[in-house]
Amino acid sequence: MNKRRRKFLRNLLIGIAAFVVLVVELYPIGITVLNGFRRDIVILSGRPFELSQLTLRSYALVLKNPSFLLGLKNSIEVGLFATLLSVAIGAMASYGISRYRFRGRNVLAYGFLIFRMLPQISLVIALYLMFKAAHLRDTISGLSLSYVSFNVPYVIWMLLPFFAAIDRSYEEAAMVDGCTPFGIFWKVFLPLAAPGLVVSAVFAFINSWNEFMYALILTGVNAKTAPVAINGLIGGETLTWGQACAAGTIMLVPVFVFTVAMQKFLVRGITAGGVKG
């Protein structure tokens, strides 16, 4: 009895300690979300928070801000476009690596992985010059292409364990029936691999959604994404914290859903190369 009570007390104390750690860790995020619901003038006055300060004014302003709206639209377009391309290309490559043995297979697979980890600054200067020469700078397709570059190796490695777990008997049966290799991949294998495709697509989308450096350097006015627009809101002379925080909160919604929904895959996702803009 005594022992059970001591165990209960210990777990209670640990629970309280964990809760305190969580509150301290999430406090800065809470401040950002809260500031999105306060007016700039209230934020700048440094007045302590009161319920009466809550307002949707900053959201109304930022959702009328042409720069942020264009950025948001571009972020969604580039995200979807880059995700679709990366998953299509990555799934084919991952299938090739997992189902065939050929010379250079290991070098290729590990090479992809190393490419995923290269610093963006090492590539972006050359990409800037190339895109400028090819008139791809400040275009949705150019920026998407640059996102495909880091997402394809990522998707390949995310998919390998999913693909390895799929039973080969269906494919073998299809082969006996005389299907072409690509027909087997397309009609038989991909439907079986759907869960893995969804997971890797979600990771690829968040990678693109969070990215900043390529967007900053490879775009100008037309193809700039929401993170670049938000940077514009805080960089200037006028301090529009309310709008910046409202815009930031809008950007955080998909990330929040992602973290909670993808719990099971987060460790795998991070060791496949890290989620990093």
Binding site: Y100, A109, A126
Partner: protein, 293 residues
């Protein structure tokens, strides 16, 4: 041979166009004096001149110093915090799952939102951190306009954002240690510290090394959060490697010199990435069911 090539061709085209070619191109550009804008003078071949210039450039060494300091200060703190939290949270209590998940939020947040958040936290007068200092009767600190405090703030931002990353990996490692092993040391009468030293640390060492390598590779290319937080300032107090290269290329317009920096960082990153891949990543998962074709 034809079938695997069919499946790999699209990815090889992409990798060649947007990874291999830019690297080769950077290598070429790094051998030239290459102004960003056409009006700023002629391109001229200088051989290894840019690398020699870099080695004599105090700003370059400053950025290396800042970058190394960033890695050597932030990552050990993240490791210690992550380890402690993993030990604390490796048991079930009411809400344990919720705490473990929500702690990971900062890791997946947009880096620029992290930078923006901390830029706000550290503002004079109305920033929450200074408000706290004032309430405690301490003098206000103008964090982001003081070189030392700005650098410290950049490190704190990274620790805040990334210790849960360490926690996540170490926790995953801890849960894979069988309970019987831990109970056995309890029965043996080993105390907390002896249990850490003789059982848990040795078993976790591979996980810790992986986590450290992942973090170092990541920290080598830090850019967005610092750019939004300080833009490398005040002066060049937080001008980490990527920020400095960006400034050289697109601020000073010296693309050749910046490309030499790009190649330097590339080589360094490949060393770490190759170590990680050799140590940790394996295609063995494919071999269990595979017969090959």
């Amino acid at each position: 041979m034809a079938a695997p090539l069919l499946f790999l061709a699209p990815s090889l085209v992409v990798v060649f166009a947007v990874l291999v070619f830019p690297i080769v191109f950077s290598l070429v550009v790094s051998g030239f004096k290459w102004p960003l804008s056409v009006g700023a003078g002629e391109r001229a071949f200088v051989g290894l001149g840019n690398y020699v210039d870099l080695s004599r450039n105090p700003e370059f060494w400053n950025s290396i110093k800042l970058q190394l300091g960033f890695i050597f200060i932030a990552i050990p703190i993240e490791l210690i915090l992550g380890y402690a939290a993993a030990l604390l949270l490796n048991r079930e209590f009411l809400g344990a799952r919720v705490v473990r998940t929500l702690l990971l939020l900062p890791v997946f947040f947009l880096p620029i939102i992290s930078g923006m958040t901390w830029r706000f936290m550290l503002q004079p007068r109305y920033g929450p951190l200074n408000a706290l200092l004032l309430t405690l009767g301490a003098p206000e600190i103008t964090w982001l306009s003081d070189p030392t405090f700005a650098y410290l703030a950049v490190v704190v931002q990274d620790v805040w954002r990334m210790w849960p990353f360490m926690f996540m990996l170490l926790y995953a490692g801890l849960t894979s240690i069988p309970d019987e092993l831990i109970e056995a040391t309890v029965v043996d009468g080993a105390g907390f510290w002896r249990r850490q030293r003789s059982l848990i640390l040795p078993l976790l060492t591979p996980t810790i090394l992986t986590a450290l390598l992942l973090r170092i590779i990541d920290a080598l290319r830090v850019f967005s959060e610092v750019y939004v937080m300080t833009e490398g300032g005040p002066g060049s107090a937080t001008l980490l490697f990527s920020l400095f290269a960006n400034r050289v290329a697109f601020g000073y317009g010296e693309v050749g010199l910046a490309s030499a920096m790009a190649i330097f960082l590339l080589v360094l990153s490949i060393v770490f990435a190759a170590t990680l891949v050799r140590k940790n990543m394996s295609l063995d998962i494919l071999e269990e069911k595979a017969g090959g074709r």
